[in-house]
């Protein structure tokens, strides 16, 4: 697959159901699995398939996404030739239906025209999986289809493999054809293209609501899912941080949990995902919860089925309970005190 495929990641998607986690960040930058962001999965999959040129098309709130990706160094994409490209939307667009906005691509036509890669892989930014794209290309070449759409469990994954020249043609003729994005093309019953389907049988979770986010997070605690996502020879890359190892202090009791680096734990943690540099105070109990980076849980707090966003401070003795189907979400950077108990 070497040098033959362009990676195109559409990072413009807005899911209303995830709005509480999207106030300060784009969907692509939502933290996941303790130390990753959603985009890390598809981006790492591309890098692992030897894709050396990746273009990211973000829209609003892309500060945290840019901060996360930087020069692309952590994905080995800080290259002299090719590498990581960032194309924020330069025009205010209306609401779109699908992945791969042709007008957004058209505004950055030079990228497609200058690239020498024969194929382009257009993907969404919110799929958690460790997918090998090489067989997708093999099948695409073998069948000679115009578009290969990737499916998982009978549903479109909103990932499309095309020839770059074909994509350029779709972009340039978009006013005549009326197609605004890739899904317009594949769902049009009158189109004249050969469209093929590639069925992906591995693990995948598409994150489009708090419920699916919470469910996918909790699934990580099953070793089968964990082992499918995190494979030594097929790593998921992310921005590295210089956090020390996690410290378990006296009184810590941790079971069935995923803990990132830099945490200091003095309380009880069960069935939870704890991100980097989280502090859990003495006598605190955290169950079935997701705690994001640098949040501090005070002494003797009791949290069950909650999602705590980054930089949140939960005061001593706070009790908060959500449910598995409707976890309680605390927004980034806020404080929660005992008086705000629910």
């Amino acid at each position: 697959m070497n040098k033959r495929v362009l990676g195109v990641i559409d990072a413009t998607t807005y899911h209303e159901g995830l709005k509480e986690l999207m106030i300060h960040r784009s969907l692509a930058a939502i933290p996941f699995a303790g130390r990753y962001r959603l985009i890390d999965f598809v981006l790492s999959n591309m890098v692992n398939a030897n894709i050396e040129s990746v273009a990211i098309f973000p829209k609003f709130q892309y500060r945290s996404l840019m901060d996360h990706l930087g020069s692309g160094k952590d994905w080995d994409l800080n290259r002299k030739r090719d590498g990581l490209f960032f194309f924020p939307s330069s025009i205010i667009e209306g609401i779109r239906r699908g992945i791969g906005s042709f007008s957004h691509f058209a505004a950055n036509m030079d990228y497609f025209q200058r690239s020498k890669q024969e194929y382009a892989l257009i993907t969404n930014c919110f799929t958690v999986s460790n997918m090998d794209f090489k067989p997708v290309l093999d099948k695409h070449i073998q069948t000679g289809c115009d578009i290969t759409e990737i499916y998982h469990l009978g549903k479109s994954m909103q990932m499309y493999l095309v020839k770059t020249a074909f994509l350029i043609d779709l972009i340039q003729t978009r006013e005549k054809t009326g197609y605004t994005c890739m899904s317009d093309v594949v769902t049009d019953i009158y189109h004249t293209y050969r469209i093929c389907r590639y069925d992906y049988h591995g693990y995948a979770a598409m994150i489009d609501s708090i419920e699916s986010y919470f469910a996918a997070s909790m699934e990580l605690l099953t070793p089968e899912v964990w082992n499918k996502l995190f494979q030594k020879d097929h790593p998921i890359f992310t921005k590295v941080k210089d956090e020390p190892p996690t410290r378990y202090l006296r009184g810590a009791s941790v079971h069935h949990s995923i803990i990132a680096n830099g945490c200091q734990i003095e309380g009880v943690v069960e069935n939870s995902i704890i991100s980097r540099a989280v502090k859990i105070g003495r006598g605190a109990v955290v169950k079935n919860s997701i705690i994001m980076q640098k949040s501090q849980i005070g002494d003797h707090c009791v949290l069950d089925s909650v999602i705590i966003d980054k930089d949140v401070r939960i005061e001593t003795g706070t009790v908060m309970t959500g449910s598995r189907t409707s976890p309680y979400v605390i927004r980034k950077g806020t404080g929660q005190g005992a008086l705000m108990n629910i």
Binding site: R35, W226, S257, I258, A260
Partner: protein, 375 residues
């Protein structure tokens, strides 16, 4: 100028294939990370690292220095191995000869001061403060010293000072110490003084070309101004299996002065890419330091686990340092030990506490397995 050629022979098999500064420490780091991080945190952006013994791991670890933000357009980190001249290869025969052979490197930068460091120690120190002290004292050389317990003073190089902290005398491992200020092997030299005395020392065929044994006594004899810079805080020479284990255990002490969680003085290291650690439903973890990529299914008590370590069901790891990627099987019991990098510990292995800290080796495991077979 960071001296990183140390063989660390008292660390036995741990330094068979790597130099002492590259020995893993603290669940994530290598010993040299502390000195390199001190440099970058002190605003030093030009560092020469002198390597000699088993440099492969160290060289590839340091790379171009990006982990410590030392990949700079001007200066940055330069690894300085011994090199050959037209007639012969000149190995570094002592700490002073190592710097002497790289005078050209220093001359390129024409500095005012040169800081000479050792890559063997665990400590956090702001060298900028020491430089201010050096400047204020109008010294030719400043040597950082730390108070050691009187009963241990005979193990160190001891500085005798006057009331103004001017060094009057330097005694290596004195039988009857008159002072308890030990040299930490950290020197700030006025560059012209360093150059002059290294050249003199090189011309002396009786010299062993060592800073402590030769250069410092010569400076004292010629009445140059040497002052002691008193350092307070955590400092440890992890020269033996016992002291390496102790230093790791120190990190578990809640009152330990070496705080790895101080974001104003981060210890940087090359970050391997591992997923977060997984603690299984039946695992138990108490008072420990655990790094990314670990999969824990057993009981961990007062231990330090590096990245990528797995511990199987029913195993108990107590007061032990487990180095990167070691795989510990099921129903293993290990107490007061160091398990080296990549070691595979078979199911049912038992290593009980003895008088000294055990550094596990393949031969030892083989022996244990044989005994088990006979039984």
């Amino acid at each position: 100028m960071l001296l990183a050629g140390g063989k660390g022979s008292r660390l036995h098999s741990l330094t068979k294939n790597l130099a002492k500064p590259a020995v893993p420490f603290g669940g994530k780091y290598r010993i040299i990370d502390f000195t390199l991080s001190n440099c970058t945190n002190s605003g030093i952006d030009t560092v020469g690292v002198l390597t000699q013994y088993q440099p492969l791991v160290l060289n590839s670890y340091i790379g171009i220095g990006s982990a410590w933000d030392l990949d700079r357009r001007n200066g940055g980190v330069t690894v300085l191995p011994p090199y050959s001249e037209s007639s012969e290869v000149k190995w570094y025969n002592g700490t002073a000869s190592a710097i002497y052979q790289n005078l050209n490197f220093i001359m390129q930068y024409d500095p005012e001061y040169v800081l000479v460091l050792s890559g063997d120690h665990i400590y956090k120190m702001d060298y900028e403060r020491m430089l201010e002290y050096h400047f204020k004292k109008q010294a030719d050389v400043s040597i950082s010293v730390i108070e050691v317990p009187w009963e241990e003073a005979n193990r160190f190089g001891i500085m005798n000072t006057d009331a103004e902290m001017r060094i009057t005398d330097f005694v290596e491992k004195p039988e009857a110490p008159k002072n308890n200020l030990a040299s930490m092997g950290i020197y700030i030299f006025n560059w012209p003084v360093l150059k002059e005395y290294l050249e003199k020392d090189n011309g002396d065929s009786t010299s062993s070309h060592d800073f402590g044994k030769d250069v410092i006594p010569m400076l004292l004899k010629e009445n140059r101004k040497l002052v002691a810079y008193p350092f307070k805080g955590y400092w440890k020479d992890v020269g033996t299996v016992q002291s390496l284990w102790e230093a790791n255990m120190d990190l578990l002490d809640e009152k330990c002065e070496l705080n790895l969680f101080d974001y104003d003085w981060r210890i940087y290291s090359v970050n391997p890419n591992h997923p977060p650690q997984y603690i299984s439903p039946i695992a138990k973890v108490e008072e420990s330091l655990i790094n990314e990529g670990c999969i824990i299914e057993g009981d961990i008590e007062r231990s330090v686990l590096f990245q990528g370590v797995t511990v199987g069901k029913g195993s108990i790891i107590r007061e032990t340092v487990v180095m990167p990627n070691a795989q510990i099987g099921q129903n293993v019991f290990i107490e007061n030990a160091i398990i080296p990098t990549n070691m595979v510990v078979p199911d049912g292995t038992v290593v009980r506490k003895s008088d000294e800290i055990i550094l596990l080796t393949d031969e030892m495991l083989e022996e244990i397995m044989q005994i088990k077979r006979i039984v």
